[in-house]
Amino acid sequence: MKPIATQNGERIVAMSLMAVVTLGAFWVRDAAAAAEMAAATRERQVARLQQVRDGQRTSCGDLGAFSDLFDGQQIAWERGSVGPYLVLRSGHQGGE
């Protein structure tokens, strides 16, 4: 097949458009991959925390690792007279 649009201006516009679209595609792909990774990390954290609540894990390391999940609220264990439970607190307090 042979191109029939021979005017240089038209070629330049077409090539520029393609270049912009290609760059945009790479940018969106990278951003999507980063967002996907962040979502997967949060989902794993939710699953781990759920396992702790369900007793499938007796320990999940430092609960501070979950602070990102709850918009700055800190999660910690509380041991009352009716057994241990998790609490969400504002600010920075340690967890088990």
Partner: protein
């Protein structure tokens, strides 16, 4: 000037660059939009999961605090979440409203105390040397082992008065040279219907799970403890379907003792070792309070979905996997080279929040496991944890 229009994709079989660029741009833009939408949707899904988890944590914490203080009702604010707890007859009802939206409702049944921590572990032993067999096992003192609650035992359904089990000495005679001196029971075909109701069931003798290529299967809506006042002989796999969990609690009845049957003949004989230190053998020759996973002449792996609490000796004649909590008050005797055991802990309890039927509890009455109630049906807020079992 006679110029061809540029926005024609094909014109007499040739491509126009500008038109191709536009078409490609539209296609790529649509693809990007789709990808962006997918990522946003996924992020929203995860966000919703986090919110739900946070609401559950907040609801549970508020309920625990209300239970500890004994207040009939309470209201609190955690971040942008408004939490209200109301004490009801059988437990607590808690609502969590986030950002002015409709509240989510949670229910907590009242449980009389904490179950033994052994029910929350894959494996618990009393002898440190058993950690060679079960590396992940918790080691506890003998007095820390789970025990039946006397009042529950008195009220338990005894299989002699039910259509759960039947006496069948034939299996014992086919397995051991002279059978057993005690009563031998096997589950009846209708046992599943009886066990489905949950609770504590007492077998006043030895219980046999016959050897079979197909697993003995039971569907449980509620948790069941089968207390065996004798030995438990497991010849085939045990499959538990449904939400309920099954635990075999095996202890020696009065007048008998548990021992490690080293030569695997099913009878007390020279070389066998008593589980209790410093005593003399007494009672029936087959002893009591022991469990046998695998039977002579049967070469088949055993998958046991039930938990095992064995106050006597655990005998292994086949490779076995136990999904429920495995609690060993005595030792382990390997009756064949294949005999080994894995405690997966897949069907354990949450001891701080759940009761194990018929077993002793410790500590104060407390809220049980959180369960979500249907927000559109306020009448459902008082619903039982499990649906009523169908009448028999």
């Amino acid at each position: 000037m006679n110029r061809r229009p540029s926005f024609v994709v094909l014109s007499r079989g040739v491509f126009v660059p500008m038109a191709m660029a536009c078409v490609t741009t539209v296609c790529v833009a649509l693809g990007l939009l789709h990808e962006a939408a997918r990522v946003v949707r996924r992020a929203e899904d995860v966000r919703a999961k986090v919110d739900r988890l946070a609401e559950e944590i907040v609801a549970e914490a508020a309920t625990m605090e209300a239970a500890a203080t004994g207040s009939a009702s309470s209201a609190s604010q955690v971040g942008d979440r408004e939490v209200r707890v109301v004490r009801s007859v059988g437990g607590w009802t808690t609502s969590v409203a986030s950002g002015g939206g409709p509240p989510r409702w949670f229910g907590f049944n009242l449980v009389p105390g904490a179950a033994n921590p052994a029910f929350g572990s894959a494996c618990t032993v009393t002898r440190p040397d058993l950690k060679d067999w079960l590396r992940e096992a918790r080691c506890v003192a003998t007095h820390e082992l789970p025990r039946l609650a006397p009042d529950a035992l008195a009220a338990a359904m005894v299989v002699d008065r039910s259509d759960l089990c039947a006496q069948d000495p034939g299996l014992a005679l086919a397995t051991w040279s002279v059978g057993t001196e005690g009563m031998d029971y096997v589950f009846l075909r209708a046992a599943g219907d009886v066990l489905a109701n949950g609770g504590l069931v007492c077998v006043p003798g030895h219980l046999w799970i016959p050897p079979s290529a197909e697993p003995w299967t039971v569907r449980l809506a509620r948790d069941v403890v089968v207390a065996v006042r004798g030995n438990l002989y497991v010849g085939g796999s045990v499959r538990v379907l449904g939400e309920g969990r099954l635990v075999f609690y095996v202890e020696p009845p009065p007048g008998s003792c548990a021992y490690g049957d080293r030569n695997g003949d099913g009878l007390w004989s020279a070389g066998d070792r008593l589980v209790a230190d410093g005593g003399n053998f007494h009672g029936p020759l087959e002893g009591g309070g022991s469990a046998f996973l695998g039977l002579p002449g049967i070469h088949r792996a055993i998958q046991c979905d039930a938990g095992l609490v064995v106050h006597g000796e655990l005998h292994l004649r086949a490779p076995a996997t136990v999904a429920g909590p495995l609690v060993l008050g005595g030792g382990v005797t390997q009756n064949s080279a294949d005999g080994r055991i894995v405690a997966s802990g897949a069907r354990h309890f949450l001891p701080e929040r759940e009761v194990v039927p018929g077993m002793q509890v410790a500590g104060e009455p407390r809220p049980g496991r959180l369960r979500e109630l249907d927000r559109n049906q306020p009448g459902m807020r008082q619903q039982a944890l499990y649906q009523a079992a169908p009448s028999r």
